[in-house]
Amino acid sequence: MKIVTAVVKPFKLDEVKTAVKDVGITGMTVTQARGFGHAGGHIEIYRGKEYEFDFVDKIRVEIICTDELVDTLIDAIVQAARTDTIGDGVAWVTDIEHVVRIRTNERGPSAL
């Protein structure tokens, strides 16, 4: 099994969610995050003084899926989160050892 972690633009979250559901995934975890990448930060002005905001608001999405589904899922996320402008974010895939569904104590792929 794999966990796919994607850091995306906040306003793209709903598109990502829909795309992930369409792939047949039944759950995802979302965290409000901040980060910087190639896009860099932005300037805000308060009372004439400029402040550099290095970290930009992002949404961190985590989805656990079976090995077979990974490529389809990544494609779906890329298509949904992409705006072709700088700062679209990144996604990465990590192997995971084990999954447990807490309510039923099921183990492995059937826990998803």
């Binding site: 300037i43 805000e44 002005i45 308060y46 009372r47 004439g48 003084k49 400029e50 402040y51």
Partner: protein
């Protein structure tokens, strides 16, 4: 029909005047609580919100206690004559007498020097009205000290400053003292409150030293919506500030309210336009607009009932413009660049107050009459007006305004410095220690503005809960 004997008012009391005066006083009180508390709370960093708000609430409370015990009579009671009549020493302060008797609350309010026509409401009304003005003054200048002033120091600075600075300036300009006798006017406190607050802010901040550089660099405001709430209350509260100072619910009060609002509206738009066309970023900013609002409010304060509508528009335009340039350019040159006036009190209150006070000497229209105010121009029947250079073609009023401003600046700076060094000596320092400054509210008060919610619930029943309540 009610017979006169059934009306529970003494013959001198006018219920309309009394009602308006108490309403106006309450509006001015709202400018401090919660107006300034949330305005300054919104402008400081998140970690300083509680400390800032508590300084506002405690300063308001201390001032009222001082006011009852000696402040009111020191500023507005009969003058103490330390010198020949008409000399400075015969008219700079009253006596240390409390407002302790029934008649000192319910008797007819009279002016200190007995040169005003008698008021149509009781002393308690006048004392409370004058209190809210006294209270807001230290609450304005605390904006310069946020983020490092020791809380205990604040509790000492307020009573000392009210006594040694505010009461003296108020007696001199409002209590029938020396500058009032000379003919200087300050309709609602452009000098006694705002210029003085600005000077005290600057002097105090110079002695106190700057905030930590980390706090200066990260000085972004905590909540702009709270700034909007505070600023809105302050603007509309100013209807009581300037509308209450004729002391009669008449035409002067009405024109003062209208003039105040138009000067403020012009101040807002003027600052916005400078921001949009001349600032480095060319962006209209909300906090800039609020600065412009304060400039208009502060600058119209000394002249609210003395100028006509055109004059009020010029007051807003000139003050907002001068302060905009001061804020953006003067702040880069010494000594302004060296003193960390955290919220810029010296600009929006000090400079705007000075400009407004001087503009009285230029723009005051002699056809705008105020009732019940004494001074050199007192016309006997209670009518009073001031003639600026535009109308009287004389610089006399401007000169009187200049002299009063010079006094306010010199005395406030000197006395504030003495008070700060004295408190520093008593407490062994004016600043919280470095570790406390790094943490902020939690270190000083064990409170924070937005406490983190606890996740989950406690496991064991606390022993202090009775079993019936579990």
């Amino acid at each position: 029909m009610l017979s006169a004997v059934n009306i529970p008012y003494p013959h001198w009391l006018n219920p309309a005047d009394n009602t308006w005066q108490l309403t106006a006083a309450t509006l001015v009180g709202l400018m401090s609580l919660p107006g300034l508390a949330v305005l300054y709370g919104g402008l400081v960093r998140k970690k300083w919100i509680v400390n800032t708000m508590l300084m506002i609430f405690s300063g308001f409370s201390i001032t009222l206690i001082v006011w009852m015990l000696w402040g009111y009579n020191l500023a507005f009671g009969p003058l103490a004559h330390f010198g020949a009549t008409g000399s400075f020493w015969s008219g700079f302060i009253g006596h240390f007498t409390p407002l302790a008797t029934a008649s000192s609350e319910q008797g007819q309010a009279v002016s200190g020097a007995n040169t005003l026509i008698p008021f149509h409401f009781p002393t308690a009304t006048l004392a409370y009205f004058q209190f809210v003005f006294a209270a807001i003054t230290p609450l304005l200048f605390v904006g310069a000290f946020v983020g490092r002033l020791k809380f205990k120091a604040w509790l000492l600075i307020v009573p000392l400053w009210i006594t040694g600075v505010y009461c003296v300036n108020a007696a001199l300009l409002w209590g029938g003292g020396f500058f009032a006798q000379k003919g200087a006017v300050d309709f609602s406190g452009g000098y006694v409150i705002h210029l003085s607050a600005g000077v005290a802010a600057f002097t105090g901040a110079a002695i106190l030293g700057p905030r930590r550089w980390q706090d200066r660099e990260n000085a972004f405001p905590s909540n702009l919506m709270m700034v909007a709430v505070g600023a809105g209350i302050i603007w509309l509260g100013w209807n009581g500030f300037n509308g209450g100072d004729p002391f009669y619910a008449g035409a002067s009060a009405a024109s003062a309210v209208l003039n105040t609002n138009v000067a403020t509206a012009v101040g807002v738009i003027t600052w916005l336009l400078w921001d949009m066309f001349l600032s480095k970023q060319k962006k209209p900013t909300f906090l800039g607009a609020i600065n412009g609002m304060l400039c208009g409010l502060v600058a119209i304060t000394p002249s609210a009932g003395f100028v006509n509508g055109t004059g009020a528009i010029f007051v807003g335009l000139i003050s907002s413009t001068v302060v905009w340039f001061a804020w953006n350019y003067l702040s880069k040159v010494r000594p302004f660049s060296k003193v960390d006036d955290a919220l810029g009190v010296v600009y929006t209150h000090g400079i705007a107050g000075l400009i407004g006070g001087l503009l009285v000497g230029i723009l005051a229209d002699p056809h705008m009459t105020e009732y019940g105010v004494a001074g050199k121009h007192y016309k006997g029947s209670g009518e009073f007006s001031v003639s600026g250079w535009f109308y009287g073609h004389s610089f006399h009023q401007l000169w009187e305004q200049f002299l009063a401003a010079a006094w306010i600046i010199c005395w406030t700076a000197t006395a504030t410095a003495i008070i700060f060094y004295f408190v520093k000596w008593v407490l062994g320092g004016l600043r919280e220690d470095e570790e406390t400054l790094r943490i902020g509210d939690v270190a000083i008060h064990e409170e924070e503005a937005y406490p983190e919610p606890t996740f989950g619930e406690p496991l064991d029943t606390p022993s202090h809960l009775h079993s019936d309540n579990v």
